[in-house]
């Protein structure tokens, strides 16, 4: 769906380009905020950006293109997303490293209904994540797209669905934190 294909009524169409630009800016800031909290090792904050009935997946392009349900990280519901964080912090063993997210091309691709009244925003963006071990050069870990559905709750945009679809055929070594 292109920008021109924004459907339905709602604030975006009603006030034409200005509202779309404002929404796009808001989304860019949101995406950057999440990238920053992940880069700053504050993954505990991630679930607060999702609705209770959320779907969060990190999934290969291979599975996504074939419509296969398997995902590398699969969380349906906020409980599973919180469990992912608890398991990571409390049980998992891995070599420490630093990650950095580069997000670009954040764009609104559709609005259904009035976002101010529970309507849903569809958005997407590109990401690239680098990984640096403490004794080696950074490498590219993952590159791909965010395919998102968001809703506004109490003024805040929350993810109802975030599909992190990576282009990589395979993950080198491990995928440790959400993307």
């Amino acid at each position: 769906m292109s920008t021109g294909a924004i459907e339905a009524a709602g604030v975006v169409r009603a006030s034409s380009g200005d509202a779309l630009r404002a929404l796009t800016l808001e989304l860019r800031e949101l995406y950057d905020e999440i990238a920053e909290l992940l880069d700053d090792d504050q993954v505990e904050r991630l679930p607060s950006y999702f609705t209770d009935d959320c779907m969060y997946q990190v999934v290969s392009k291979e599975n996504h293109d074939q419509g296969l349900p398997q995902a590398t990280i699969y969380c349906d519901g906020i409980g599973m997303l919180r469990d992912r964080v608890v398991a990571l912090r409390e049980t998992q063993v891995y070599e420490p490293r630093a990650w950095r997210h580069f997000v670009s091309g954040v764009r609104v691709v559709g609005v259904q209904g009035d976002p101010a009244a529970g309507g849903e925003i569809r958005a997407r963006g590109n990401f690239l994540v680098t990984e640096a071990m403490s004794d080696a050069e950074p490498t590219m870990l993952l590159v791909g797209r965010y395919l998102d559905r968001l809703v506004r709750r109490d003024g805040r945009l929350l993810f109802r669905e975030r599909l992190v679809v990576y282009d990589n055929y395979r993950v080198v070594r491990s995928l440790i934190v959400p993307v």
């Binding site: 290969s60 074939q66 070594r173």
Partner: protein, 414 residues
């Protein structure tokens, strides 16, 4: 003085006198050893896992796969039969098939457009008779002699296996009766449903993965997630059984659910008060009558797991001495209810490159490869559970790894 490099190398490749309770680190790093492994195991009289039949549901459907470092194509022919051939043109060696999956009537090599039947036979050679009386193949060129290299194929209840050896043991003989029984427990012929893939490149020697699934000792210590949520414990009733000549292994345990045990209290990282919000993640629905949790290693190419409600094939694809690809194919059954499929997908969070359990395996194997790299002259110690290779009925043992290296030395002549 006067000592040749060759003799130094030979001296360094002597197995330690202690035998199978030691593993010299050169088995993980020496390119000559690796080359012999590929010939002896992957390209020898072994049966290698290549695909599930639900991946190629219709005639003309194909999937690329690997045996060792050789790429093969698994194809369903018009009569429904399954063929496996090397993805390497009979003409100049270029890859004939350029996509991982698809559906075709025949295969045409993009280089000179030699055309092959679904079963690998050469059907057509462009300009075979030349142009205007000039060129072309010699009159004695026989298409029948220039097909793609075909492998022997065995289908076991929907799992597809192939062997490079034109003759040799059949599948049942290769895996042995006990393993065959466990494979049939998973692959009874009930139609399969493909759920998806996870692929990772682990920077470690491929045998470390073979060892990983022969090592219940580590599972009780490294994998705090399993311990914490009761999916696996040191005091769980279990069996570790080497089969074949020690190359294959069967690990069986019971899923006991979350309880506290004295042995768990000894484990430093145990977090007994930890609670998951989503109980489905650690609460499997009973589906096999025997209540068992099973991990099967069919050497050299695959580990099959059934843990909670996730079912998967872990295809081991070596990439040189220091890396291997681990390709996970997750499946269920075509006739199961959607809720069970959902549980399988949820429980698969245990596995793959981000798995609560499997991530840690990739991490420690990569670290162990670092430990092997500069230390060919030293050896790992495998004495947990004693020094012999007889089956044991508990987890605190390295018997399966010892049995594996007993077999390995015989097969490799080391």
């Amino acid at each position: 003085m006067g000592k040749s490099l060759q003799s130094e190398t030979d001296a360094a490749r002597l197995w330690p006198a202690e035998g199978w309770t030691r593993v010299p680190y050169w088995v993980y790093t020496d390119p000559a050893v690796y080359a012999r492994e590929l010939e002896t195991f992957f390209y020898g009289p072994s049966w290698n896992y290549v695909a599930l039949d639900c991946e190629i549901p219709e005639p003309g459907c194909y999937k690329r796969s690997w045996i060792g470092e050789r790429q093969v194509v698994v194809v369903r022919a018009k009569d429904g039969g399954i063929h496996v051939w090397e993805n390497r043109c009979a003409h100049r060696g270029a890859r004939v098939c350029w996509q991982n999956k698809g559906k075709v009537d025949s295969f045409t090599c993009p280089y000179h457009q030699w055309n092959f039947n679904l079963d690998g036979r050469l059907q057509g050679v462009p300009l075979k008779r030349g142009v205007l009386g000039k060129g072309g193949m010699p009159p004695d060129f026989d298409n029948a002699q220039h097909g793609l290299r075909k492998l022997r194929v065995h289908v076991e209840g929907g799992s597809i296996w192939a062997s490079f050896a034109p003759e040799g043991p059949g599948f049942a003989e290769y895996v042995g009766p006990e393993m065959h029984g466990y494979i049939r427990r998973l692959f009874s012929g009930r139609p399969l449903k493909l759920l998806g893939y996870s692929r990772q490149l682990i920077p470690a020697n491929w045998k470390m993965y073979i060892e990983n699934l022969k090592d219940p000792y580590h599972a009780t210590l490294l994998h705090a997630f399993l311990i914490t949520f009761g999916l696996w414990r040191a005091d769980t009733k279990s069996e570790s059984t080497p089969v074949g000549r020690g190359e294959h292994g069967i690990m069986v345990s019971a899923n006991v659910g979350k309880t506290t045990a004295e042995s768990a209290a000894e484990m430093a990282r145990n977090k007994s008060r930890l609670v998951l919000e989503d109980k489905d993640t650690v609460t499997p629905r009973r589906e096999f009558d025997d209540g068992k949790v099973v991990g099967l290693t069919v050497f050299p190419s695959v580990v099959m797991h059934q843990q909670a409600n996730t079912l998967g094939m872990r295809h081991i694809i070596p990439k040189g001495t220091g890396a291997f690809e681990l390709s996970w194919t997750y499946y269920g059954f075509a006739d199961e209810d959607p809720e069970l499929t959902r549980l399988r997908v949820r429980h698969a969070n245990l596995y793959g490159p981000a798995g609560y359990v499997a991530m840690e395996d990739g991490e420690v194997m990569a670290e162990a490869q670092f430990g092997a790299a500069e230390y060919a002259h030293r050896a790992a110690v495998l004495e947990m559970g004693g020094k012999d290779v007889a089956p044991q009925d508990h987890m605190v043992t390295e018997v399966l790894i010892r049995a594996f290296y007993k077999y390995y030395r015989e097969a490799m002549g080391l």
